[in-house]
């Protein structure tokens, strides 16, 4: 709870700092506040928490771990935002504020214990994101992204609400514990409305995380939004969406897994296929990242499909690895877009000679995203596959391994372009903040790849 309050107050503080023309203080204050929130979420660790406020929220280890990783990713993104928002307009404080508000919504999403809180959390996050997608007011692509995201998001929220309403109609409560008790009391006599509710909830949540076939908004929105916002959307927001997904299914719906697991298996396989196949054909780095994020959704769905004691850990590790690697990739993307003006694969040619550090860290990111051993991404994929195998989804895992091979192909295109293709180019200027983020993330990726126990025992 203190994390949520800290972040909300921080958002308001930053907004007022902007009003009173303290432009220099915005970034330091936001970063300090986030560090405070991060330490608070560590502080809440291991305190076997009870649901608070009449069972509205539950800050257990799960919530603390996911709050931690989302706050950490936001922190890295804020470090990248140095000199970024100034180029869009002078309303920098508002941008930070809205990002912080959406982070507050995300904290609600990862720690809810009542479906009303889930809804409010998702709404706070989404409303802020609709705004963030459209902050480049004069840019047509950004406008399109905001409008598309808003329409699709509002539509999916309708599904979500309908699902929640049906669950309430069947079980008579919004509280996760009581819904669980309702299922456990008579697993054979669960009302048919309840099943309809689960299906609609799956649709709504899959829209939010961007799983195929509910992914149609994702590429356009990711491409049209400002790159930094895309980085935020594809890392923090996705992590939060999966945390909410898993919390609901792990806690409430696990006794009914025979009903919904075929649906999710189909969705996961579709996401893998569509994400990977379309990513191969992309010529631009940003769009490739957008499609590959759909395929990562497919991998992450594995943890929900094979619900067991370790699925929260595996999704946590995967989300952490994916977020850190994606932030590195987006950092490189922002540098390229700003200094070269394009993000096609050709623009990476010969990068290794001029910017060895940038090329090295980007290579680490790509290896991690592709799931090569000794990186964090490998550990994430490995945990996903083992958990899926433990529930005998052998064909799904085989299919996923095939898709991972396709993934290696398009991630390696970047590496090949950087190291083996020659081109005349100028050296990219990498500011100290970017160096810090890139260095830290690369180190973390490799560290987690070698010692996964560092975070795999957290939950």
């Amino acid at each position: 709870m203190s994390v949520l309050i800290t972040i909300s107050l921080l958002a308001i503080l930053v907004l007022y700092l902007g009003l009173f023309k303290a432009k220099k203080a915005l970034l330091p204050v936001s970063i300090l506040g986030l560090l405070g929130a991060l330490s608070l979420s560590f502080y809440e660790w291991g305190s076997y928490a009870q649901p608070i406020y009449n069972g509205m929220m539950l800050f257990d280890n799960f919530a603390a771990a996911f709050s931690g990783i989302t706050i950490l990713s936001t922190l890295l993104i804020f470090l990248l935002s140095k000199d970024y928002f100034e180029r869009i307009s002078s309303n920098i404080a508002e941008y930070y504020t809205v990002i912080l508000f959406s982070l507050a919504g995300i904290i609600v999403m990862v720690s809810y214990h009542n479906l009303t809180m889930l809804f409010i959390g998702i709404e706070i996050m989404s409303v802020s994101l609709y705004i963030l997608a459209g902050i480049k007011k004069r840019d047509f692509a950004s406008n399109e992204a905001a409008l598309k995201y808003f329409l699709m998001g509002a539509f999916s929220t309708g599904f979500l609400l309908f699902g929640i309403a049906l669950l309430y109609g069947a079980s008579g409560s919004f509280d996760l514990l009581e819904i669980r008790n309702y299922i456990l009391s008579a697993p054979q006599e669960v009302s048919p409305l309840f099943y309809g509710g689960i299906l609609l909830l799956i649709v709504g949540l899959c829209f939010k995380v961007g799983a195929a076939p509910f992914h149609f908004w994702a590429p356009d929105v990711y491409e049209g939004s400002p790159s930094l916002i895309t980085a935020y959307m594809s890392t923090v927001v996705k992590t939060a969406g999966f945390a909410a997904f898993l919390r609901l299914f792990l806690f409430c719906f696990s006794p009914l897994s025979e009903f919904w697991s075929p649906v999710l298996v189909t969705l996961a396989a579709l996401s893998l296929l569509i994400g990977n196949i379309t990513a191969v054909y992309q010529q631009h780095f940003k769009r490739m990242l957008a499609y590959s994020s759909i395929s990562h959704v497919g991998y992450m769905l594995f943890a929900v499909i094979s619900l067991n004691g370790s699925s929260d850990t595996s999704i946590f590790v995967y989300a952490a690895a994916y977020s850190i690697a994606s932030i590195m990739a987006f950092a490189a993307l922002i540098l390229l877009q700003r200094q070269v003006g394009t993000d096609s694969f050709d623009s990476f040619n010969g990068l290794a000679r001029k910017n060895p550090f940038l090329a090295l860290t980007l290579t680490v990111a790509m290896l991690s995203l592709a799931g090569i051993p000794l990186t964090a991404g490998f550990i994430g994929k490995f945990m996903m596959f083992t958990s899926a195998l433990s529930t005998y989804h052998t064909y799904l895992v085989l299919f996923a391994v095939l898709n991972a091979a396709i993934g290696i192909f398009y991630y390696f295109r970047v590496i090949v372009a950087m190291y083996f293709k020659e081109a005349d180019r100028h050296e990219l200027i990498v500011s100290p903040y970017y160096r810090l983020v890139l260095g830290l993330s690369a180190a973390a990726t490799i560290l987690l790849g070698v010692y996964p126990e560092l975070i795999s025992r957290l939950i």
Binding site: I12, L15, Y16, L19
Partner: protein
């Protein structure tokens, strides 16, 4: 369902609405029937302060109106929450200041938003 509904209590409101609606319809129909009809080109053209008609009415208008309208809706929602609070205020105040503080937190947050709007001159009409 029907046995428990208190919808019957709303019958006076229904009558009120019927009367209001009936009055409007009646006067409109009556004026059409009683009034004289002279159909000429000048009579049928829309009246724009006596000037020649310019363009048509479907002109996109400034987003400033929209900003005011959407801010109005937000504060409208805020005020809606105050009705159930006000109705329960007496009972809550017997138990201490909790009810007051609960509303103050909510209102305080939105008041900060209101100050922001004023400071940002979002409601100024340039």
């Amino acid at each position: 369902m029907e046995t428990q509904t208190s919808a019957i209590n709303y019958l006076p409101i229904v009558f009120q609405m019927l009367v209001a609606l009936g009055f409007v319809v009646l006067t409109m129909v009556l004026t059409h029937i009683i009034g004289p009809k002279r159909k000429s080109k000048e009579k049928l053209s829309p009246f724009e302060s006596g000037i020649e008609v310019v363009g048509n009415a479907r002109q996109p208008f400034s987003i400033k109106y929209f900003l005011v309208a959407i801010l109005f809706v937000l504060f409208d929602i805020e005020v809606i929450f105050m009705y159930p609070w006000a109705v329960n205020f007496r009972e809550m105040s017997l138990e201490g200041f909790d009810g007051l503080i609960e509303m103050l937190v909510f209102m305080g947050t939105l008041l900060l938003g209101f100050i922001y709007i004023i400071k940002k001159k979002a409601l100024d009409w340039e």
